[in-house]
C-alpha cells in the first residue's frame, strides 16, 4: 500500500520536474509560488511542501544545464536563433 502511494507520488513529482526543467514560464510561476504550482499539478500537500523546498538556484541551474544538453543534441543553431534562445533562457 505504502509503495503504491509512493509510486503515484513518484509519477506526479517526475511530471512536475520534467515540466519545470523545460518550461520557463512555469518555472517562474513556481519560483513565485511553489506550493500553488505543485498543488495545481496534482501533488498532495506534503508533496507540494517537499518540492517547494528545492532551492531556486538549483532549479535554475539544472534547467539551464538541461537546455544546453538539448541544444547540443540538436546540433549547432543559426547564430540569430542561438542569441534568441539565450535571451529566452
Amino acid at each position: 500500500m505504502r509503495t503504491t502511494t509512493q509510486a503515484a507520488m513518484q509519477a506526479d513529482v517526475e511530471r512536475l520536474l520534467a515540466r519545470l526543467m523545460t518550461d520557463r514560464a512555469l518555472r517562474e510561476r513556481f519560483v513565485a509560488d511553489p506550493v500553488a504550482v505543485a498543488r495545481d499539478s496534482g501533488l498532495s500537500p506534503p508533496e507540494s511542501e517537499a518540492i517547494a523546498k528545492i532551492p531556486v538556484a538549483d532549479l535554475h541551474t539544472a534547467a539551464r544545464s538541461y537546455a544546453f544538453k538539448r541544444d547540443a543534441k540538436r546540433g549547432p543553431l543559426h547564430p540569430l536563433l542561438a542569441w534568441w534562445r539565450a535571451r529566452l533562457r
Binding site: R2, T3, T4, T5, Q6, A7, M9, Q10, A11, V13, E14, R15, L17, A18, R19, M21, T22, E47, A50, I51, K53, I54, P55, V56, A57, D58, L59, H60, T61, A62, R64, S65, Y66, A67, K69, R70, K73
Partner: protein, 300 residues
C-alpha cells in the same frame, strides 16, 4: 584471476588515436544511443572492433529508474544492437529521462523511495528479458536533490542492486560532483554501498559553473575537462576496498585534447588502481570477496 582494466569511451573524433594506442587501452565503451539507428555497415564495423578489443555498450535514454515503464520498443532496438555488436556487457543509468510526454533531454534523478526501487527493478528485469543480459547501472550526477525522497542515495542504490541483481557502474566523477555540491563525504558514500557489486568505474572531468543568480557555484559533470586528482584518489580507495577485478573507463565528450593527454589520464587511472591494490592486503581483509562471488550468481 582477471586483471584490472583501463579503457576509454569510443568517440569518432578519437578513432585514429584510439587505434594507434590499442596496446594501452584494454576496453572500449561505445555509446549505444549513437548507433541505434545505424545501418548494417556501421554495426558490422562495431562488431569487428569488438572482436579486436573488448567493447561495452553504454545506453543513456531508456529511463530505467523513472515511474513510467521502460518502452519495450526502445529495448527491442537496443537488443538488436547488442545482438549485432556482441559486446561483453552493457550499461544504463539510475535516472528518468521523460515524464508525462515531456522529454527532459538528459538524465534526471527520481525520488529515492522503496517504490522507485521496485519500479527500477521491474524495468531491469524487463530489460534483461528483452536484451538477454542484465545491464550494470550507473549512479548519476544531479544538481537537484530529488524531492520527496525517503532514502539516501547509497541506500537507494543498494536497494536496486539487491532487488534486481544488477551490477553497479560507479561513476566516480558523478559521486565527486554530488558530494561537492551537496556537501557529503564521498568516502562515507563508498562505505554505504556494496562495493563488491561494482562491475565498472567511470572517470571524467568537470567544471565550475555559477547559478544564473550568481550566488552559488556548482561542480558540473561535463566530460569536457581533464580528470582531477580527487577522482584518482577515489579510484585508489575503491581498489583498496573491493576484491574483484575493476574496469575503469575514461569518458570524454568534447574539447578533445591530443591523444597523449588522454592516454596519460589512463596511465594515472592504472596507477591509482595499483596504489589501491597495494593498500588492500594490510588494511582491508578479503571479507567482500565471497560476497562478490555470490552477488553475481544467476544474474540475468
Amino acid at each position: 584471476m582477471t586483471r584490472d582494466r583501463v579503457g576509454i569511451g569510443w568517440r569518432p573524433e578519437l578513432a585514429a588515436g584510439i587505434f594507434d594506442a590499442l596496446d594501452r587501452i584494454d576496453v572500449l565503451e561505445v555509446l549505444a544511443d549513437d548507433y541505434l539507428g545505424a545501418g548494417r555497415r556501421a554495426r558490422r564495423a562495431l562488431n569487428t572492433m569488438a572482436r579486436q578489443v573488448p567493447v561495452q555498450l553504454h545506453s543513456i535514454a531508456l529511463g530505467m529508474a523513472g515511474a513510467e515503464a521502460v518502452d519495450p520498443r526502445r529495448l527491442d532496438r537496443l537488443a538488436r544492437l547488442v545482438n549485432d555488436v556482441e559486446p561483453e556487457a552493457w550499461s544504463e543509468h539510475l535516472a528518468f529521462m521523460r515524464a508525462g510526454g515531456i522529454e527532459i533531454g538528459h538524465l534526471a534523478a527520481p525520488p529515492r523511495t522503496e517504490a522507485s526501487i521496485e519500479g527500477a527493478a521491474r524495468n531491469l528485469r524487463k530489460a534483461a528479458d528483452i536484451v538477454g543480459t542484465m545491464p550494470a547501472m550507473e549512479n548519476i550526477a544531479t544538481l537537484i536533490e530529488p524531492p520527496c525522497s525517503t532514502l539516501g542515495e547509497p541506500a537507494w542504490i543498494a536497494g536496486i542492486l539487491a532487488a534486481s541483481g544488477c551490477g553497479l557502474l560507479l561513476d566516480v566523477h558523478n559521486l565527486h560532483a554530488n558530494a561537492t555540491n551537496f556537501g557529503f563525504d564521498p568516502l562515507d558514500f563508498l562505505a554505504r554501498i556494496p562495493l563488491a557489486r561494482i562491475d565498472c568505474i567511470h572517470i571524467a572531468g568537470g567544471s565550475w559553473i555559477t547559478a544564473p543568480s550568481g550566488d552559488k557555484r556548482y561542480l558540473l559533470d561535463d566530460h569536457l575537462h581533464d580528470v582531477e586528482q580527487p577522482i584518482y584518489d577515489l579510484v585508489a580507495e575503491i581498489a583498496a576496498r573491493a576484491a574483484q577485478p575493476l574496469t575503469v573507463v575514461l569518458e570524454r565528450d568534447g574539447a578533445y585534447p591530443p591523444m597523449p593527454v588522454l592516454l596519460a589520464q589512463l596511465d594515472r587511472a592504472r596507477a591509482a588502481l595499483a596504489i589501491g591494490r597495494r593498500r588492500r592486503p594490510a588494511e582491508h581483509p578479503r571479507a567482500d570477496a565471497d560476497d562478490h562471488a555470490g552477488s553475481h550468481a544467476g544474474r540475468r
